[in-house]
């Protein structure tokens, strides 16, 4: 994409450190949170797009400059959490200001489970090889935030984030438990059961005996 590649090129020429780009993204997200806190959703959405450009280019600039590092990956993940939490805090402030304690709770719970989504995967992958299960990951979360902001449907977005983040955390806990206990998959058991039922429903003369 032309504008993005031009920005990446400029950052490479200016030799801007990718970690600086990452932290710049966080500061811009704090501005987006401020806009959300003021109820200026469209502005919040626009600023979120700007912040996510930084989030998108930091890894690419690191690769171009051959400055990739393990610390860079760690820094990126930690800064992502700050960005996510800032957006939720902006909304919590807004709903508190409006005296809507119900949505303060919904948003706070959505924030808690969004953080737990990342934590469960990070912690799981320290004891098992991979824990990439569950629908509601960061890209989905950010896109949903933007949809909520641009179309002024943030309450519905908060409900979706809350429910699907709870499901994602549960998925990750279950997946880790299953991997550690070498337990057979539920879907395999259900498929096996279905196959048994199909076989039982087949007329006896149609079956082949080997």
């Amino acid at each position: 994409m032309f504008p993005l590649s031009a920005i990446i090129r400029a950052c490479v020429v200016l030799r801007i450190h990718p970690n600086i780009l990452t932290v710049t993204g966080v500061f811009i997200n704090v501005l987006a949170a401020w806009a959300l806190g003021l109820g200026a959703f469209v502005w919040g959405g626009v600023i979120m797009i700007a912040a996510n450009i930084f989030d998108f280019i930091d890894g690419k600039v690191a690769r171009e400059l051959k400055w990739e590092s393990e610390f860079g990956g760690f820094w990126d993940s930690v800064m992502d959490r700050f960005s996510d939490i800032s957006l939720f805090i902006g909304l919590i402030y807004l709903y508190a200001e409006k005296g809507r304690t119900d949505y303060v709770i919904v948003t706070a719970l959505a924030m808690m489970f969004s953080v737990m989504t990342s934590y469960t995967r990070a912690r799981a992958e320290s004891i098992i090889t991979k824990c990439k299960v569950g629908f509601m990951e960061r890209p989905e979360r950010i896109v949903l935030f933007m949809i909520g902001a641009f179309t002024n449907r943030m309450a519905a977005v908060m409900w979706v984030l809350l429910v699907l983040s709870i499901v994602t955390v549960a998925d990750r806990i279950y997946h880790t438990w299953r991997e550690l206990n070498h337990s057979p998959k539920i879907e395999e058991r259900l498929e096996h059961r279905l196959a048994e039922i199909r076989l039982a429903a087949t007329p006896a003369k149609g079956r082949t005996t080997l």
């Binding site: 109820g39 949505y103 449907r153 309450a155 998925d171 997946h175 259900l190 039922i197």
Partner: protein, 65 residues
């Protein structure tokens, strides 16, 4: 009867115990369901403190009436 119960259980399990990649048809189906909920649910049903207007469903209802 058992078959009737097992197939929906499998579909529900696969929908909620999510292991699909982005870009699969299952993913697209979830995205459509989420967008439908966000855009079609009338804000009044959720007591949305910020949304204005009746939403797409409310607008269609007034159009029909």
């Amino acid at each position: 009867m058992k078959r009737v119960l097992t197939l929906p259980a499998l579909v529900l399990w696969r929908a909620f115990f999510w292991t699909y990649e982005r870009g699969t048809w299952q993913y697209d189906l979830w995205v459509i369901a989420i967008l439908a909920f966000v855009w079609l649910t009338p804000p009044a049903w959720l007591s949305d403190p910020m949304a204005t207007g009746p939403g797409l469903v409310g607008w269609l209802r007034t159009l029909v009436q």
